[in-house]
Amino acid sequence: MIWLMWRQHRSQAALATIALGALAIILAITGVHMATTYHSALRSCAATGTCDSVGDGLFNGDGAIIDLVNFTVVVPVLIGLFWGAPVVAREIEEGTHRLIWTQSITRRRWLTIETITLIAAATIVTGMLAVAVTWWSRTLDLSQQNRFNKFDIQGFVPIAYAVFAAALGLTAGIVIRRTLPALATTLATVVGLRMVIANYLRPHYLAPMTKAVPISSSSGLTGSIWTLSTRIVDATGATVPTDGIVSALPAACRQYIGTTRAQVLGCLANQGWQNKIVYQPANRFWTFQAIESAIFVVLAAALVATSFIVIRRDA
């Protein structure tokens, strides 16, 4: 059976190996180069005291490679489309399910081995990819200090996405029985669900933290926090609506209207106005990775269970 899997999928395995190898080489070269650039910039900025903004524009010339790395977000989707969806749908389309399911192996056992191979391949490929991308992103994470921006391509969530997409493709193929519609369903579902979870669920995995900082300071919070929202509050703690801010200015500060922004902000700070920042702190990065991975792995398990039920119906 393993032999059959290898015989059927060896060209895909070769393709994946070549693509991963090429990417690894590109990332190794550029990763080392970017780290060197960053560390030498750190040494020179220490002399001039400008290290706060050392990352700004440092890697502007590396846009193409940064785009390439960001683009690896599609890899789990591709695995679901081209590895997951055809597993059963293609057999049914070609009629070979009637060949394979009438050998002396139960459908359940056949599907077990197919599923394990698929999930293992998805895990290995996206695992190696995530390790490479996470290692490569180190310099950017340090210099730009916002790791949550690259949440989807780092750590272990890419593996969970791939396992989910593969399981979805597999199940869609069994239910729909045709490759192309199964593929389209997988694409729409993976993209839709990922967007919904990233935008509406992920910010609330843990209750966000709130911090008030003087309105005059630029951000007041350092480290790679994930800012969910900022609003202005007055001395009583009431939110100042941004569109009516001029009329809401306290009398003491009205005289500064028409002067510099810094003078207005300085006055407001004296009046007790603050920026209230709602955020997820940097040290929650790995907790969030674990929570999001768990969500997708549980969904994947439910899909696989469904596929084992549906496979029993008439062939």
Binding site: M1, W3, L4, R7, Q8, E94, G95, T96, H97, R98, L99, I100, W101, T102, Q103, S104, I105, T106, R107, R108, R312, R313, D314, A315
Partner: protein, 301 residues
């Protein structure tokens, strides 16, 4: 012959939405026979075969293969070989690849004689099956179905797409394989002349129901063609089942299933051939012998 039944169904029914593909189908095929499953397109032949393999589940009724219901169990699956109508094979794989796949998926598998069987037909073992002719593909698929050494081999219109020569080669390969071992075959087709040469048992399905089921010799002995100038068939219809009536200006021809001796002197009695008999039943699907009647033919052997 032994009384062991390779295939036995009772009231087998398969409903697809509003249409019944099989309706109360009760048949039996004794072990060791090569049985022809005949009937017009859409009569339910494929559905019956797929239920027997376990690929489909019946809506009602039972099917038994050597006494066991089709099930997802390696022992059951090992006993039943199946060749589907579209001759499914992995197009990019060679015959040798398929033999390798079979060896990995079956406990009982005969790689060596399968290679020999394919090579003896001058079919290259290392050529991808997608580039083979229909006849070669069918031969490879048959060899693979036999390699499993099943006790029951179910073939769904395996020769439908083949030219006459390929058809004859295929059927003689099959006949040789059956002669070699302890194998029961149920082979569906609508090409009766091809089947007559190798089959010794027949199951006729029309409109989702069995019309005939029994050893071909018994079935033919039980039917006769009557010719006469009389157009009055009431006497015959009282004593026998008339399957088909053909009337021309000069004479009337009847195909009857006898319920007793045919003694009426008004009619000349002629033996009937399998093809004529099957065509008569297909032409007149309202002549429906009772299910109990079907059984007596099979059991009388």
């Amino acid at each position: 012959m032994s009384d062991v039944l390779a295939v036995e169904t009772h009231g087998l029914t398969k409903q697809y939405r509003s249409k019944a593909a099989l309706d109360d189908c009760t048949i039996s095929v004794p072990a060791g026979r090569i049985s022809a499953l005949v009937g017009p397109n859409g009569a339910g032949k494929t559905t019956l075969l797929q239920i027997l393999t376990g690929l489909r589940a019946p809506t009602r009724g039972d099917a038994l293969i050597f006494g066991r219901a089709p099930q997802q169990d390696p022992k059951f699956l090992a006993d039943v070989g199946f060749l589907a109508q579209d001759i499914p094979l992995y197009k990019r794989f060679s015959a040798d690849d398929h033999i390798g796949i079979g060896a990995h998926l079956n406990g009982r598998w005969d790689s060596e004689s399968t290679r020999a069987r394919i090579a003896a037909l001058d079919i290259p073992l290392d050529q991808s099956v997608g580039t083979m002719s229909g006849g070669q593909r069918a031969q490879v698929a048959l060899a693979l179905a036999l390699a499993k050494r099943p006790r029951l081999l179910l073939l769904d219109e395996p020769v439908a797409a083949l030219d006459p020569l390929a058809r004859r080669r295929f059927l003689s390969s099959l006949a040789e394989a059956v002669a070699d071992g302890d194998l029961t075959v149920l082979l569906s087709s609508h090409l009766v002349t091809d089947l007559e040469r190798i089959c010794d048992h027949v199951v006729l399905l029309t409109a989702a129901q069995p019309q005939l089921c029994g050893d071909i010799d018994d079935v033919l002995a039980e039917h006769a063609i009557l010719t006469g100038i009389s157009r009055d068939t009431t006497a015959i219809e009282r004593d026998h089942d008339v399957v088909e009536t053909t009337t021309t200006a000069r004479q009337t021809t009847l195909v009857v299933r006898r319920r007793g001796p045919l003694l009426d002197p008004h009619w000349d009695i002629h033996p009937i051939g399998l093809e004529e008999l099957i065509l008569a039943y297909m032409a007149n699907t309202t002549a429906r012998p009772s299910v109990a009647g079907l059984h007596t033919i099979g059991a009388s052997s």
